[in-house]
């Protein structure tokens, strides 16, 4: 099984007629994802290589029955697009947009929680989600993922997610679902959301968790793992050598004072029984070892 999405998930792309939206939307469809529509205000009635375009999310949902949306719009329009998706009846929103102001994210997140409690937002500033062989929403290259499980992946970083997929696939180890939760300070979906979904998924036998400096989501995840997780977890945390007070590429990857260091995260995870590795390759090898021993 997969988490959050599967082979029946119908997806619309908000921003399908833009350069990025078109590129990734079509790639997702080519992968086999049910991309059933696009949304661009003012372009309703047109199509992108056979994918019908609608003026609003509501119209797209009414016409196609989509439940998921892929938001690929510039930062200044992203918050409105996310809220429009929720208002239009979408229950799973993937936003890859990088560069959304933190205050907009905070307001959008809280409005979703308060007004649309059944809606899940993945991202912003994330690579998306892929259930190999079933559904790919986002910018991950489908060819580096391998269907069939048994590993679930959750990561704050895009390229490190690809790296993890690659290392496992090369060893013949498949993935149930790979979720990129993104590198912004207010992620819609966090580690615990994904870990609990993987814990509940019978086909996922082990989880790879890739974190980085900044915030305390990894520490919170460690607490959750200690209490609830029975499946093995392998982890790698990027940024051991990052200087404090600097944003390391991702808006959320910053050590503030003594808070958010890689060391504190690794200590917490180790204490929770997680296999903490020093680099992505070592994490891949550890996972191979664990899967072979299952």
């Amino acid at each position: 099984m997969s988490i959050f999405v599967d082979e029946n998930t119908k997806v619309i792309v908000q921003g399908l007629t833009g350069g990025q939206g078109r590129f990734h939307g079509l790639r997702n469809r080519d992968y086999g994802t049910k991309v059933v529509g696009g949304v661009t205000p003012g372009k309703g009635g047109t199509d992108v290589e056979g994918i019908p375009v609608f003026n609003t999310v509501k119209e797209a949902v009414d016409a196609t029955g989509a439940t998921a949306s892929f938001v690929v719009v510039p930062p200044k329009f992203a918050s409105a697009a996310i809220l429009e998706a929720a208002e239009g009846g979408i229950t799973f929103i993937v936003c890859i947009t990088e560069g959304i102001p933190a205050h907009d994210e905070a307001v959008t997140y809280n409005r979703l929680v308060e007004e649309f409690p059944g809606v899940r937002l993945l991202g912003p500033n994330c690579p998306g989600i892929i259930s190999p062989g079933k559904c790919n929403i986002g910018i991950t290259s489908g060819d580096i993922a391998l269907p069939g499980g048994p590993v679930g992946i959750v990561s704050r970083s895009g390229t490190l997610t690809y790296q993890a997929l690659h290392e496992l696939s090369q060893q013949g180890i498949g993935q149930t679902t790979c979720v990129g939760i993104g590198g912004d300070p207010v992620p819609g979906t966090n580690f615990i959301d994904c870990l609990s979904a993987f814990q509940a998924d019978p086909e996922t036998k082990a989880v790879m968790m890739i974190g980085e400096i900044g915030g305390s989501e990894e520490e919170r995840a460690a607490e959750w793992i200690k209490l609830n997780m029975t499946k093995p977890v392998v982890s790698y945390i990027a940024g051991v050598t990052a200087p404090p007070g600097r944003k390391m590429g991702h808006a959320g990857a910053i050590i503030s004072g003594s808070k958010g260091t890689a060391q504190a995260k690794m200590d917490a995870l180790r204490e929770a029984g997680v296999h903490v590795c020093q680099n992505p390759t070592e994490a891949g090898q550890k996972m191979v070892e664990i899967v072979k021993g299952l």
């Binding site: 905070a106 307001v107 290259s141 704050r156 895009g158 390229t159 790296q163 980085e212």
Partner: protein
């Protein structure tokens, strides 16, 4: 973007938060002119983005023109923890009765805003948090609802601010919250927020960090970009639109993706090397980006080898390889380059580089191998 104190005070003023009258000065003469305008005594304050400037001799009281001349002359050019003072803020000295602390920042775990208010200001809030946590009144604020005056009034009472200061402080807190949200700050902090002997409340210091992601809606931030960074490498990278952070090591780093770039620094460190920089070239790196990246790294005299770590996803490795060759035609690189190329079209990418490989252009099959090679070349 961190603001200097004087910029933070200018920003506060836009939102109606009272600060001491003052002005900036880059020379002793300018300092004198400001002092004559605001009246004596004045405080001469070094403008550096680092804490502990008082202890370092960067903040001095001056009662007259001679003292302004003396202190301004001494402080300009002073080195405070590696930051050389190039600008001063001169302001009218305040008679302090009490020092408080107030700040707003994002509460990441709760995805709300966090207000911190304390009747014990003037010292590092981290120290108060450790030694006397009860002295800090924390307020969790729903970003949708915001902070109103009624809540602020309850908050100043809870924090035990002096009665006489409460109403003024509550009004300042609402303004500071507006500055924090509408002004798109990651951090808006007043430490100390003072009660003067004549019972007025105003901000004596300003610590503001702006959210760069919001710069598209704040054209007024341009004026704050004065010497945003003191590192010439970072200045050069910024002009070329690169996501670069200067470090002290000898291995220059180029990677695609923030996570991979961070991870590259870690791996270089693990195998006994030190990174000269963080540099994320992002997705779809072409020859222009690669040339710009190599140019910036090449300008760093400490760099002894360059590690290019690419995992192709959307970025195609064959395009990166072409970019590297094109960049080498344009820029004369003085250090050997070690490449690790994996992911989308990696085979094609390696084939493109194959005829050009030499002692100064090397490929390695894995990230660890490449790190080891780059470090051995640098050491």
């Amino acid at each position: 973007m961190d603001l200097f104190e004087y910029q933070g005070k200018q920003y506060f003023s836009k939102f109606g938060i009272a600060v001491s009258p003052g002005g900036v000065a880059d020379t002793v003469e300018e300092a004198l002119a400001v002092a004559e305008r605001v009246g004596y005594p004045v405080v001469v304050k070094a403008q550096v983005k680092v804490g502990g400037r008082g202890k370092a001799g960067g903040v001095k009281l001056a009662d007259n023109a001679d003292e302004v001349r003396l202190h301004a002359g001494n402080i300009l050019g002073l080195d405070i923890k590696g930051h050389v003072v190039r600008r001063l803020w001169i302001e009218l000295s305040s008679d302090i009765q009490k020092e408080y602390y107030a700040s707003f920042t994002l509460d990441r775990p709760n995805k709300t805003h966090l207000g911190m208010l304390s009747a014990e200001g003037g010292v590092e809030i981290e120290e108060v948090a450790v030694n006397n946590p009860d002295a800090i009144a924390m307020l969790s604020i729903d970003p949708v609802r915001g902070l109103d005056l009624a809540t602020a009034r309850r908050w100043v009472a809870e924090a035990n601010l002096d009665d006489i200061a409460r109403e003024q402080a509550a009004e300042i807190l609402v303004k500071l919250y507006t500055c924090y949200t509408e002004g798109d700050c990651d951090l808006a902090e007043i430490n100390p927020l003072i009660l003067t002997t004549d019972n007025n409340v105003h901000a004596l210091d300003a610590k503001v960090t702006l959210d760069e992601n919001a710069s598209y809606r704040h054209p007024e931030w341009e004026e704050f970009r004065w010497s945003e960074t003191e590192d010439p490498r970072e200045q050069m990278a910024k002009e070329r639109g690169l996501n670069y952070i200067g470090l002290d090591g000898t291995v220059g780093i180029i990677a695609n993706g923030a996570g991979l770039a961070m991870s590259t620094l870690d791996v270089v460190n693990q195998v006994g090397g030190t990174a000269a920089n963080f540099l994320d070239i992002g997705g779809g790196a072409n020859a222009d980006v690669m040339a710009a990246a190599l140019e910036v790294i090449n300008a760093d005299p400490k760099v002894k080898s360059i590690f290019v770590n690419i995992f192709g996803g959307i970025t195609r490795v064959d395009e990166v390889a072409k970019g590297v060759l094109e960049a080498l035609k344009r820029v004369d690189i003085s250090s050997p380059i070690v490449l690790r190329l994996d992911g989308t079209n990696a085979v094609e990418g390696r084939a493109i580089l194959a005829p050009h490989l030499s002692a100064s252009l090397i490929t390695e099959p894995t990230m660890l191998d490449a790190a080891r090679r780059a470090v051995s070349l640098a050491n």
